[in-house]
Amino acid sequence: MSSEHLGERLSALVDGELGPDEHERALIHLAKCEPCRFEADMTRRLKSRLHGLGEPEPDLDFMGRLSSLDGRSGQDGPNPFAPPLGGGFGAGPPLGSSRPLGGFPGDPDGPGGEPLAANTPGTAAPGEPPTAAEERGERGRSEFLAQLLTPFPGGRYAVAGAAVVTALLGTAFVAGGEAEDTPVVEPRLADFAVEHAVTSRHIPVETSPEAQETRAEAGAEQAGR
């Protein structure tokens, strides 16, 4: 390798795309050339950060609503708001993946193409991404759970009401418990009787057989008025 800087080969070195001899010579150059070493370091860091960004995660709620839209359109017939290509937004191929005019080489729909057996349902190879049929199965299970909660209009209100009642019963159960520090008392009935006799100015009396015998003449006059 000459004393020239690595230039475009620097990027290939970072990407590991150089052949063994080229790679050996590039490393020898880096050992001697401070600018190339600095540039190689910066390039490596930049590529590393770009790889660390990853792909954006789809919004789950948004995807759920898209799925339900798709399922409902299948149940209730044609959706007047569905895009003309069929399926919801995102169900079609990504931008840029459309087939070029004339088709790909070997495309069965293209000139000279042949049928693609892998497109037949149930013939997907293990380890491959889930097919449309498998996705519909997953979506069906989530829809089944959603339908359990909405068997009649206002189902979500019934669930909320049941939760409120449960919370109320639980709170009342706790509030109805007996305080641990409540002392055991034996009311002093004798003292109470005296206090009651004082304020009512009357003491309790026992009836005697003699008194009961004379009750007719005793109370008849007052009771009969």
Partner: protein, 355 residues
């Protein structure tokens, strides 16, 4: 045009119909518990009140001795000797036990209580002067306490010679005589004062309106009215073993009901089960106690019951018609007779109050 399945309409309207029926039932129940026509204060001229005020003044000024005969709702009677000493008090001695008298000492508190009892009588009933009559061969003036529906709730006989109250009867709502007292063998003049007597005075700590409000805020069930006709006429407190005990006196002007309140709970082996949580009487206060006769002793128109609720022990002693005693007991928190789930939930809802 609707594509809804017609067969599903009845099912969807069922909850609404159920809700409507429930609301109707609640409405009917609410209307059913509205106060009856006679459960309101009676209006009209209280021309009999001056007669009763004169009798109260005569009680504070006249020395006399007599036999008081008490007759309960079943007609059973009992007698005791009474001697009134206006400056010192009233001496009570059950017939046959004159050497063991009980003295209620005279006090300003009791005079004030008499004034409040007369005021409550005026507020609750129409107090009518029914004219002259006779009782036990003595000339008397009859005063009637009349309910709003015109039925008589109570009668008083006031001796025309000395203005002393010589007879009184309280009637239940069916018109039956529930509790009667009348004086016989009446002799005016200063009699002997017993050398040895068991004495009693009202508990010393009077609870004024502010004190009662403070107690209520601390959870004490100290209501100003138990029912429309039972007014709080006196409230006092004392301490037993360092713990406060409150005595609240409720009255309609004719009968008195004592409610004793104290924090705590009864022993677990207390015999609460036979009467649905109430001790002493059947649930609601009906029936005469057999549980504490040896303590309270009376069986002529007297009711007593005890129970625990909301961390308090309630004891009710009443010289009153059974229906009045029952309404007082049922106006208070229900007894905690069960520790089951729903009983505990019900108790908790009661404690939480209106949400």
């Amino acid at each position: 045009m609707s594509t809804e399945d017609p067969s599903s309409r009845p099912r969807r309207s069922a909850p609404a119909a159920l809700l409507a029926v429930t609301a109707l039932c609640v409405l009917l129940l609410v209307s059913a518990v509205h106060p009856e026509a006679n459960q309101v204060p009676a209006e009209g001229a209280d021309d009999g009140l001056p007669v009763l005020r004169a009798a109260a003044e005569a009680e504070e000024e006249t020395h006399y001795a007599a036999v008081r005969r008490v007759t309960g709702p079943e007609g059973r009677s009992a007698s005791l000797r009474v001697a009134n000493h206006p400056d010192r008090g009233i001496v009570f001695a059950p017939a046959g036990s004159e050497d063991e008298p009980f003295v209620v000492e005279a006090s300003q508190a009791l005079e004030s209580l008499d004034d409040r009892l007369l005021e409550v009588l005026r507020e609750t009933y129409r107090v009518v002067d029914a004219g002259r009559t006779e009782l036990g061969g003595r000339s008397a003036r009859l005063v009637e306490a009349v309910r709003a529906d015109g039925t008589v709730a109570g009668r008083f006989w006031v001796d025309t010679d000395n203005d002393l109250l010589v007879g009184r009867t309280a009637y239940d709502r069916d018109g039956g005589a529930a509790l009667s007292m009348n004086l016989t063998d009446l002799e005016t003049g200063e009699g002997e004062w017993p050398d040895h007597a068991w004495t009693g005075q009202p508990w010393g700590e009077a609870l004024e309106a502010g004190d009662r409000e403070d107690l209520r805020s601390e959870g004490w069930e100290l209501q100003e009215h138990l029912t429309w006709d039972l007014h709080l006429v006196d409230a006092r407190a004392t301490r037993h073993e360092g713990h406060k005990v409150v005595h609240a006196v409720y009255s309609d002007g004719l009968a008195q009901i004592s409610l004793f309140l104290q924090r705590g709970k009864l022993e677990t082996d207390h015999p609460t089960a036979p009467f649905g949580g109430y001790v002493g009487t059947e649930q609601g206060g009906a029936g005469i106690s057999s549980g504490h006769d040896t303590i309270f002793g009376g069986d002529a128109g007297q009711y007593q019951t005890m129970w625990q609720a909301d961390g308090f022990v309630f004891t009710v002693l009443a010289d009153a018609p059974a229906d009045l005693a029952t309404s007082a007991v049922t106006a208070l928190p229900s007894p905690e007779g069960s520790s089951g789930f729903w009983a505990r939930v019900e108790r908790g809802l009661d404690r939480m109050g209106p949400l």
